[in-house]
């Protein structure tokens, strides 16, 4: 790849305006991806400007990486080429909000937290509590395929995204879906783009259905001497008529990361964190039934925190990846996806693998069938990295036997040793994904090489 001509960069600056264009190291430092620096960064002010930037990049053979809040840029493999960061943060308006219809259209660069504040004024919300909540944007959240604990009740963003507008790698503006809660007109490209890491298109607008904020909420933290008890409670909950918002299981090491507030879990014990919301009668029903279920699963402690008192603890649990960065110089996060009934088996494997490689580890199990394994080496260095790589490799392999597994975050150096997508690149639908990449981004302008199989 030859160095892009400065002429092309000048034209980019003309396009978005000099005040929305950077080439200096300070300006660019925010856009470093896996240690790679772009040559320039732009902040387009409209979807049309995004399209023009992409068209120019395509003509000049520049590689782009879209950037939202910059909180999940480390997902995926390092880009094989990276010339310009396309910062979407000026696309930050709500373009349509019909509270009476519970529908919303919002630009992709809007911060989820800012949007949440607007929805709150109408007693509504989007169930998007997840790590980096304060910094993440709608576009980055969708493109990175993120989801959080509330998925237990509300589903993942794919379940409440109604439509989207986007710019393809050819610089064409297109849309799919609509802004009504039910719609089967045309192909659902907006779902296809979720989790595509910006390798197919840049989101410019997303349409959602919104939800009522529950009038009452409570967080139940229930402790067990062994993982088995926690799993038994999860199972009992899944088979009950209860409708919890979230079911998270935390290993003793994860609870330690949460700090002194988490003293309501006895040291060394596993805990189940159940969030319940709705009318107060509904919350009370959860309280009663949970007490009973917890008792028959031999709980060692049972705590209830109401809406006013559940934070900051609940927030800290949500933000567990950031806590990892405080706890270790080289935190590595592996996400394994499986059937809920296999959570326990895989958790045991994970602890075993970490132990064999002498790596402290903390686990978070999500009731829908997700296991987050945080590997927390106490030091960096060649030898540690080698152990980290070996453990990650084994986790990817074992995880894949039960479903799938990916490294979500790790030191950049590890990406030279471990393929973060594991064996996902051997899926037999990869060829179809290649064909779609060819349609959306034939010249590999967008985030080249980041997704599975080098997409």
């Amino acid at each position: 790849m030859s160095t892009p001509g400065t002429a092309a960069l000048t034209r980019l600056a003309d396009l978005v305006g000099a005040e929305h264009f950077w080439t200096d190291p300070t300006g660019l430092s925010r856009y470093v991806v896996d240690g790679r620096w772009p040559r320039a960064a732009v902040q387009p002010g409209s979807a049309e400007e995004v399209a023009e930037v992409v068209r120019l990049a395509r003509a000049e053979k520049l590689a782009l990486v879209p950037v939202g809040g910059g909180t999940r840029l480390g997902l995926g493999m390092p880009p094989s080429r990276y010339d310009v960061a396309v910062d979407c943060s000026r696309l930050n308006r709500i373009i349509a909000y019909d509270p009476g219809d519970l529908t919303l259209g919002v630009e992709a660069g809007m911060r989820v937290a800012a949007l949440d504040a607007v929805l709150a004024r109408h007693g509504q919300m989007l169930p998007l509590e997840m790590p980096f909540f304060d910094a993440m944007t709608i576009g980055g959240m969708l493109a990175s395929g993120s989801s959080g604990p509330q998925r237990q009740l509300y589903g993942a963003p794919r379940d409440f995204l109604l439509g989207a507008e986007f710019v393809t790698g050819e610089g064409r503006r297109a849309k799919s879906g609509g802004r009504v809660v039910k719609n089967v007109t045309g192909y659902d490209f907006h779902r296809l783009l979720i989790g595509s890491l910006g390798t197919l298109a840049i989101f410019t607008v997303a349409n959602f259905r919104t939800f009522p904020r529950p009038p009452a909420q409570a967080l139940f933290v229930i402790s067990f001497a062994e993982l088995g008890g926690a799993l038994a409670l999860r199972r009992a909950l899944a088979q009950s008529p209860l409708t919890p918002t979230a079911i998270e299981l935390a290993s003793p090491a994860l609870v330690r990361l949460l700090g002194p507030d988490a003293a309501l879990v006895p040291p060394g014990h596993w805990s189940v964190w159940v969030l319940a919301g709705g009318e107060s009668t509904v919350v009370e029903r959860h309280a009663r039934d949970l007490e009973r279920m917890a008792r028959s699963a031999s709980r060692t402690a049972f705590a209830r925190l109401d809406a006013e008192s559940m934070n900051p603890l609940w927030t800290r649990l949500r933000e567990f990846p950031s806590l990892a960065r405080e706890a270790s110089p080289a935190p590595t996060l592996v996400k394994c996806n499986m059937l809920p009934g296999e959570l326990g088996t895989l958790a045991a494997h994970a602890e075993n693998i970490a132990g064999r490689h002498r790596l402290p580890c903390a686990l978070l199990l999500r009731g829908v069938g997700i296991l987050y394994v945080l590997l927390l080496p106490e030091e960096t260095g060649e030898e540690t990295l080698a152990r980290l790589a070996a453990a990650a490799e084994e986790l990817l392999q074992t995880g894949t036997e039960y479903g799938s597994a990916v490294v979500e975050a790790c030191p950049v150096e590890l990406k030279r040793m471990v393929h973060v997508w594991g064996s996902a690149a051997r899926r037999n639908d990869l060829e179809l994904m290649r064909r779609l990449k060819q349609v959306f981004d034939p010249d590999h302008v967008l985030s080249p090489g980041r997704h599975i199989g080098g997409l």
């Binding site: 039910k182 007109t185 197919l200 008529p241 639908d429 990869l430």
Partner: protein, 487 residues
């Protein structure tokens, strides 16, 4: 609005011979009288296939695709043929692949609430197979006693209860596909978040134009512990629609919220005896489901809204029998209407719920302008309209006016920010209307994605994307003296 001519491209002799060798002669229909049934689906369209085949395995489907590809013959998947947009019709002739003999439930995982089924499994049969364990398959189209899960996947079908539980795409986790190059590909997975692009999300709702689906992995839901079914009776349509607006605005989430207008409920009552009051202007059938405490709280809120919006009466179904009668009235409404008119045309459009009152007034106006009785029975809680236009298709003038009225309704939906179809699909019915909702760039992207799956354009040709020949109007073929199957 020119009636489509089924291009009967007579099959080459070797095509038929090889299909018969592959499947056995008993699984290949080609005599004109045998093909007759497959010229129709639940829509008002007609198109004649050249042959109809009944595979029993994925390998056989691969074989069929290979023969079709070799001989450049179009190929169209078909479930139960209850589709309402002509999706399963062989618009350009060719082979119709009927999945009715691939109807086994392959696996049920009660603990993890998953099932793996062949595409020909009838929607309700899956629920029957798991209800003993307190589970069910949530998408519940009114045709659920007949339609197949393969057809549901292709159309991304909805139903009354999708208001609370979502449509088919929210319950499908993975698919086995036979692509037009003869390869078998698995997309999605039983576990959450399979890495890579969400091909399952793209395939569901693609109306059988990207691949043939040979296996489906679905999520099962746990049956709610409490159900309350309410019938709210109104003397004015405006009060009924205002009630729906208010229920939505207060963010009360019933499991279902269906509306029947006075004309429709009288047609139904005559036929089904559901217990609808004959003198009402409209009724809302509202179902609340979930935890007993949640249902209790919602019932209070719904009663309150209905009363404020001047409901004449809000009746709670006393027992399961009464509840079933009310639902029978709703689910058989189309069949009941079908008895009253030589032909009827069911539209399917979506609007933001806040626009419901003005929209029903507009539909009434359109009926008056074009001289038709237009009935309304629909998924009000979702803003998913189903106006039914009664006409006599033997009268060309009436036919033309019915089409014009229908187009006017669609135009209204789009003008208030709605969509062309909420659950019946674009099919061949609305392909020429697509440019009213999508730009040329949007459509070009769809075309190219379709080409990426099927470069030869042999799979279900003439659906979804505009042919660009028409004048942008809904094409309907005057015909059925036979009413669409009702379930």
């Amino acid at each position: 609005m020119h009636p489509t001519k089924a291009v009967s491209r007579r099959l080459q002799r070797r095509t038929l011979r090889d299909l018969q060798r592959l499947l056995g002669p008993e699984n290949v229909l080609h005599e004109p009288e045998d093909l007759l049934l497959y010229e129709y689906d639940g829509s008002v369209e007609v198109a004649r296939p050249d042959c109809v085949v009944f595979p029993q395995t994925t390998e056989q489907v691969v074989g069929i695709v290979q023969i079709a590809r070799r001989d450049r013959v179009p190929i169209v998947g078909r479930g139960a043929g209850t589709g309402l947009s002509g999706g399963a019709l062989a618009r350009e002739g060719g082979i119709v692949v009927v999945f009715s003999r691939m109807n086994r439930i392959l696996e049920i995982d009660l603990e993890n609430q998953r099932a793996v089924v062949q595409p020909g499994v009838v929607n309700l049969d899956l629920t029957k197979a798991v209800e003993h364990a307190g589970l069910y398959f949530a998408p519940d189209p009114s045709s659920q006693k007949a339609c197949t899960i393969g057809g549901n996947v292709a159309e991304n079908a909805g139903g009354p209860h999708t208001l609370a539980y979502g449509v088919t795409t929210n319950h499908v986790l993975g698919l086995e596909l036979v692509l037009m190059d003869g390869s078998v590909v698995r997309v999605g997975s039983r576990a959450p978040d399979p890495p890579g692009y969400d091909l399952t999300g793209l395939l569901v709702g693609s109306e059988g134009t990207l691949a043939l689906v040979t296996e489906i992995t679905v999520r099962l839901l746990r049956s709610p512990e409490a159900v309350k079914t309410l019938l709210a009776v109104f003397d004015r349509v405006d009060d009924a629609t205002a009630t729906v607006v208010e229920i939505t605005a207060r963010a009360i989430t019933p499991a279902a919220c269906e509306m029947l207008d006075g004309w429709t409920l009288r047609a139904v009552e005559d036929f089904i005896h559901a217990g609808f009051p004959l003198d009402a202007a409209a009724v809302l059938l509202i179902e609340l489901e979930g935890l007993a405490e949640a249902v209790e709280a919602q019932a209070v809120q719904v009663f309150d809204v209905c009363t404020r919006c001047r409901a004449r009466e809000v009746r709670l179904a006393r027992d399961e029998a009464e509840r079933q009668r009310l639902w029978a009235g709703r689910k058989n409404a189309f069949g009941a209407v079908g008895r009253l008119s030589p032909s009827y045309y069911t539209q399917d459009g979506v609007i933001p719920r806040t626009k419901l009152p003005e929209t029903l007034r507009r539909i009434e106006q359109i009926g008056a302008t074009y001289g038709f009785q237009i009935g309304n029975v629909f998924h009000a809680g979702d803003g998913n309209l189903h106006p039914i236009i009664l006409f006599d298709s033997r009268d060309p003038d009436q036919f033309a006016r019915a089409v014009a009225a229908s187009t006017a309704i669609m135009e209204h939906c789009l003008s208030v920010g709605g969509a062309l179809t909420g659950e019946h699909g674009v099919g061949m019915e609305k392909s020429e209307l697509m440019p009213r909702m999508f730009t040329e760039d949007d459509l070009e992207l769809m075309r190219r994605v379709r080409d990426a799956f099927d470069p030869l354009g042999l799979l279900n040709p003439g659906k979804i994307l505009p042919l660009g020949k028409g004048c942008g109007e809904i094409r309907v073929q005057p015909l059925p003296l036979r009413a669409p199957q009702s379930a």
